[in-house]
């Protein structure tokens, strides 16, 4: 019981620290790729401290509630994700619950941005949701392939089954959905070439237009959480999780660096191009993977 409480306290803290670290790391690596010196790796922390000491404007109750809800939802998802051996709440709901709790992030931002009453916000949110529909289609096929391959909707079971045999990215039928997941991971992270949600040059940072001060700080933290979550999900489903948190975090960082390398060299797609891409190649590959899993039942 005490162990359970310790886990509940620890795992969001790990997610927070790693997420913030990932943000700083991405800025540093991007700078290096651009032949710049780049900011110190603690720059996101400095930004968050500054933002918490600024005044801010509120557009109403829902404006506050939405951002709180989105960050809280992301924190709760961490409790359901196994980080190494830490999975405090995964007993009370499996992968489906995670999939649904991941709704809270975009939904909360969408609600509070909706009250901000700015067309840029609305355009950003409509892009967010359309892009989410775009990558959910392959993602659902991938998750269904994994779930019906391991005959379980509990992510802990899936991780355990991988550690008994080997990573599902390296096992035959599941390698196909794994590749599809790698293809849609930039879209899930909202990085380039899918950085069309907050495109500062066209819609002036989209849903974040009216966020300033502590609102922007909470939004930044939420972004850190969500990028950690979407990579940790990949690591759990395809890279076999890990037996202790250290290795797990190593895997997360490695996958994130790969994504940053993609992010640094690509331009931004238009939304139709993004949807067309997501519904063509990743969806086809994921569909093929589901068929293969359906054929080669264990």
């Amino acid at each position: 019981m005490v162990m359970r409480i310790v886990e509940i306290v620890v795992s969001p803290i790990i997610a927070f620290v790693i997420g913030i670290f990932l943000l700083g790391l991405s800025r540093k690596i991007m700078a290096r790729i651009h032949w710049r010196y780049g900011p110190p790796i603690t720059q996101p922390v400095i930004d968050i401290i500054k933002l918490f000491n600024q005044t801010s404007m509120s557009h109403g109750r829902l404006f506050n509630l939405g951002i709180i809800l989105s960050l809280a939802g992301s924190m709760v998802v961490v409790l359901f994700l196994p980080i190494g051996k830490l999975h405090p709440l995964s007993g009370s709901g499996g992968l489906l619950v995670i999939l649904y709790l991941m709704l809270f992030g975009p939904l909360g931002i969408a609600l509070s941005g909706g009250e901000a009453a700015n067309p840029n916000t609305s355009i950003g949110i409509s892009r967010t949701l359309v892009l989410a529909l775009g990558y959910e289609l392959p993602l659902i096929l991938i998750l269904l392939a994994v779930m019906s391959h391991y005959r379980s909707i509990s992510i802990v079971e899936i991780v355990r089954a991988q550690q008994e045999t080997h990573w599902s990215l390296l096992s035959f039928p599941l390698v196909v959905p794994g590749i599809a997941y790698l293809l849609i991971l930039p879209a899930i992270l909202g990085e380039r070439p899918f950085e069309l949600i907050k495109a500062p040059q066209e819609i002036s940072s989209g849903p974040m237009v009216e966020y300033g001060g502590k609102y922007l700080a909470l939004a930044t933290i939420q972004h850190a959480f969500s990028s950690f979550i979407s990579i940790a999900l990949f690591v759990n489903l395809f890279l076999g999780g890990s037996s202790n948190p250290g290795f797990f975090i190593m895997k997360v960082i490695v996958v994130f660096v790969v994504e940053v390398l993609i992010n640094a060299v690509f331009p931004r797609l238009r939304i139709e191009q993004a949807i067309r891409y997501l519904w063509r190649w990743p969806a086809l590959i994921a569909f093929a993977g589901l068929i293969l899993v359906y054929i080669f039942k264990r």
């Binding site: 709440l89 067309p119 609305s122 001060g213």
Partner: protein, 618 residues
Amino acid sequence: MSIEILLIVAFGGAFLTYFLGKISHILRDAFAVLLSCALIAFISYFYGKDIERPLYVGFLEMQLLLRLNTLSWFFAITVSTVGTLSIIFSLSYIRQREKTDFYYFMMLLVNASMLGIVLSGDLVSFYIFWEIMSWSAFLLISYNRGPALAAGMKYIIMSVIGSIGILIGILSIYTTCGTIHMTQIAAQLTAASSRYIIFIIITFSVGFGIKSAMVPLHTWLPDAHSQAPSPFSAVLSGILIKMGTYGFLLIMYVIVGMKLFLGLGSGLFSVNYILCFLGAVTAVIPTFIALLQNDAKRLLAWHSIGQIGYIIMGITLGTSLSIAGGIFHLLNHAMFKALLFLTVGAVEYRTGGVRDLNSLGGLIKRMPVTFTAALVGALGIIGVPLTNGFVSKWLIYKSLILEQHPFFAFAAFIGTWGTLLSFYKFLHNMFLGQLPEKYKDVEKAPFSMQFSMIIFSIVIILTGILPGIPLKVINAIQTSFGFGPLHITIWGIISETGTINMVNIFFALIGACVIVWLIFRAGPKATKITQDNNYAAGAAIPKDRYHYTVDFYNPLYRMIAPFLRDFVDEFYMRLAKWIQGLGNGVRRIYTGDVGYYVIYIILFLAVLIFIQMKWSIW
């Protein structure tokens, strides 16, 4: 205390309301509310009882029975709850209209007839109550004239076709089994051939499918829902189309019986698989058609079809989990869809009948309670955790995945995402964004509207956090069908393939919210600003032109719109035109000249005589 008194009270009260309305309106309203509350109390008194009583002896030498068991109790309580709350909503909604006595009479009559349907223990009284429901619903759909009349005609034509199907089924069952009592029929059909049972199921499925708006029999629903007065749209979408699913449950698991039904056909061509496939189609296509709608009630109407798809998938898959999910989703859909229709009704009541999603906006600043209700309903229909929609959808997904139907599960998930998109559009275009000048002085909804919306919201949240309360009844229902019982606790379901514990999720979310809120409060206090102080690249914001609503998902529309026409409806319309042309052709032989008729008669007699002389049949 017995159940025929219940029906007598329900029907007599409906008539009495009409005549009380002639005396005074206050009296009529009070009596209508009292009557429906009394019905709720009456039904909840019957909880857990199992009664079967003769209603009327000697109807064509047949004995009509009333029967109350867990299934009919469950449906009856749903019907009476939604009916009561929408009547309370109507108190202020319908006040300014004309023909209000008639309106209340019809509302109460619809509710009473639905109670009759779920309480009837034999097919003939079932059919009688079914017809009463259909016709009174027709009168209510065409309540406000004009396009509503056309929608009502469409509805009544389709539902007459459906009830003809039901009638054929009843007659054939009566001729084969010689009885109309459901229990006796079930006992006799065990010996019947599977082809005959498939025939029975098809005849009934036409009627029930039309009533529950299952693709491809759905085309009456969008017009009817969007044209009916909003409280009745709530009843229509909340419970009236659920009568179709009640009929499905009845014919599948009570009359035909579980083992027989699931044994029909084999592999991909088994009957329940085909129905499940239809359910999957129903869950996806209408949801994405709803994404393209601009009329709020039409959007909700298309979503009713989509959610019916989930219910059909649940109840036809035929495992204990999926049946529980289907029935639970049926209850939830009754709750949140009625709530959503009521919120639209409140908005159009205050804004003078505006339902166009492109012209509203910013109403959260004027109607906060209505917005909260709409938010709860939308979260419910999306299936966000802590609402009841999540639990039922979770059950359906889980049973679909564990039964190795990943493609049905995929359809269900994608339908959910379409729901999320269109309901964010619904909320954003009506309540969020900039408040237009012409709605600056909209007041909040009157008390009676707020009351029923709040009750619905509380029910949704409560059954979402403690799903064990309804699931206990549902578990009893599906064990009465002969499925294995589930391990239900107050906070969710325990099963070896994955449990769900809503209370843990609830406390985790609340705890996280509190922590984040404390962090939020730690920062300096935010200054409240109006909608005019907004980022417009350094300029003052333009009046009334700073809201992004039209074509909200424009890139997506451009991609999917060509594939999402309602082909079925077009086909039906063409068919109707063709039949009309045929009728015109046939009419030509009636020339009105007596001589022609004499010739027809003589020719007919000659043919008869010829046949008799040739084959001597008689």
